[in-house]
Subunit: 413 residues, 2 copies
Amino acid sequence: MKVLITGIDGYSGWPLALHLLSRGHDVVGVDNFVTRRRVREVGSWSATPIPSFAQRQSLVNQLLGKELPFHRGDLGRYDFVARVLEEERPDAIVHLAEQRSAPYSMIDVHHAVTTQVDNVVGTLHLVYAMRDHCPDAHLVKMGTMGEYGTPNVDIPEGFFEIEYRGRQDRLPFPRQAGSWYHWSKVFDSGDVMFASKIFDLRATDVMQGVIYGIRTAEMTDRRLLTRFDFDETWGTALNRFIAQAVLGLPITPYGKGEQIRGFIALEDSVQSLRLAVEHPADRGEYRVFNQFDAAYSVNQLAETTHQIATELGLSPRIEHPPDPRIEAEQHYYAPIHERLYALGYQRTRELSEVVREMFTDLLRYRRRLEARRHVVMPTIGWRRADNPAALNARVAASSAPPSAEPPPPVQDR
Amino acid sequence: MKVLITGIDGYSGWPLALHLLSRGHDVVGVDNFVTRRRVREVGSWSATPIPSFAQRQSLVNQLLGKELPFHRGDLGRYDFVARVLEEERPDAIVHLAEQRSAPYSMIDVHHAVTTQVDNVVGTLHLVYAMRDHCPDAHLVKMGTMGEYGTPNVDIPEGFFEIEYRGRQDRLPFPRQAGSWYHWSKVFDSGDVMFASKIFDLRATDVMQGVIYGIRTAEMTDRRLLTRFDFDETWGTALNRFIAQAVLGLPITPYGKGEQIRGFIALEDSVQSLRLAVEHPADRGEYRVFNQFDAAYSVNQLAETTHQIATELGLSPRIEHPPDPRIEAEQHYYAPIHERLYALGYQRTRELSEVVREMFTDLLRYRRRLEARRHVVMPTIGWRRADNPAALNARVAASSAPPSAEPPPPVQDR
């Protein structure tokens, strides 16, 4: 199959490209490199050095013996999107080109607006260009389990049968997102559901859990690793915990730490996306997968990190700063996730094994973590008016020249 | 109370301003006059001549003896929104400044994008400016009954208690909108619900039914009438039916005509909004009102129009063109609407009485309808790729100089 990946240069786009190529699919990439710029904007970088995309293409050629055609451009420009789809006419589009950070969306009104506008516009442009240039293609759109929030009932896969006041219907499950970013994903889900209906498109909406890991089986060379963000804005809780342990900082689950979320290893996330691509939805069908492997509390992640760090001779302690987010710190959480298994999904990686592997990789890049150690602790609050000031102070602090930091061999561009 | 109305120059903003002023409230207006421009864009105009806003201010001064301060500007500019809220510090904000036409949003990808972006950005700008400049103010946001779609169960007011797989919760009722415009309103509802939580704002989200009528009790002078749109893009079904009858065209309910929607007279809509303003939500409370008076099928509207037209000596016939929308043409429809009544709402106008009054007003402006008779019939389809071409052809046809059309005394500007 010919698969177009939007956001191919990002954290999960890149591993997905390698995985699909190794399984014999053709892959075409689209990216505007905005994540690289936005990580710089908050004064951070990826702990793993990320080659330029041109270098990544050469590596794919050299190490996998494959071509990787690429279109540099922005989904915010309709003429670009239409031209790429007309030229490529892919069988499937995996749409990962969205602003993906909740804290980034909460910095201030402008970051809220950018997040919602960019995500909604990119998706609208894709569905219209599909209508006009590849109406038979299958759209696999990345959503998030965070769209559902933490209701006090089980969370079905997108839709549920209900009885209300004596009548029945099958309805979309209510969304209660917890950041402007998460709401932007809810909006995209609404737009894709509607587009599949009016334009008769095939669509799979992936309610993805939090992904962890830096490598997949295809990454036989260090230069193929994906990005690892550890700052408060772009790093997940687990990423920050591991970085904190490596840096000798306290591990900091927010608040009570009993917030529970769904998680999936990077390896199993790309497996799941491949399964979705290889089993397309029908014309006019909008289906939803809850795509996570297991649910953990933030405290469980902190404890796993703590335990493995201790085995490795590090001696982190766990602290609980106040939760900067507005969220339930204790809640019921039982999402259903069966549809993936029906397509043949099998867990290949365990949390503790991947965390151990992440430590191994990060100890190698310890100096890159050291050079940006100021970015790990939270400054962005969900209701604070002084987020930009706090963030700017931190960026100023972290951009002071690090002592004895040699220029890394390959830079984020 | 001091009430800021965004979109004060629009169809319901203007009558609301007059009504609140006559009840002793202070009113401040905001508008960018985009509806006037967009109605021109599709080759149409208001059947009632609309004075410039400066003239409207003079009329208010002269006829009601009131001041009406006004800020011309765009909610898409955050500095403008912040400055107005800082300067005015209103007790309530009635937010009507949104693109309000479903067909307009369906013209093509660019109109889809404009609708969703403008509506979402304006609302985000308002809630952030409220956080910073008037956190105790009450936001009354205009939503639409169309956010819910037509589920096979009763529609509660925003939230419902459900039991699912043996557990209970109170959740937002699922939204199933039927156009990009309606989805943009769903998105705003999500953003306002979230903003009220994180910024501790007072918010009332009005799921408004379709409004009908051209005048309210305060319109003691013809020059005070609100706009009446009758083209396929900006006119409601009822408006178009009446215009068709006046023009000697067939009355055209789409498809089977058994689509049912909630309706409310303009007089009762401004009454309802005033009641919401005078009974603010609590800090941090997000409440939803289903604001309509009665549900009618499109056929019932057509028949009422037909009957009154016949009484007036017109002889329209009813035709059923194919439905250009993607919607259920036969469905269950039973929304709950109790919260308004709890605040003291009482129906003051009956459908047939208002339709008769609309005919009287429109027969006076018959020549303005005649001059734009080409704009009444549908050209915009929900899934068509040639909407812009069809629309352009119609605009070209309708902008040919009408024979014997005198320049109207007061123009849309």
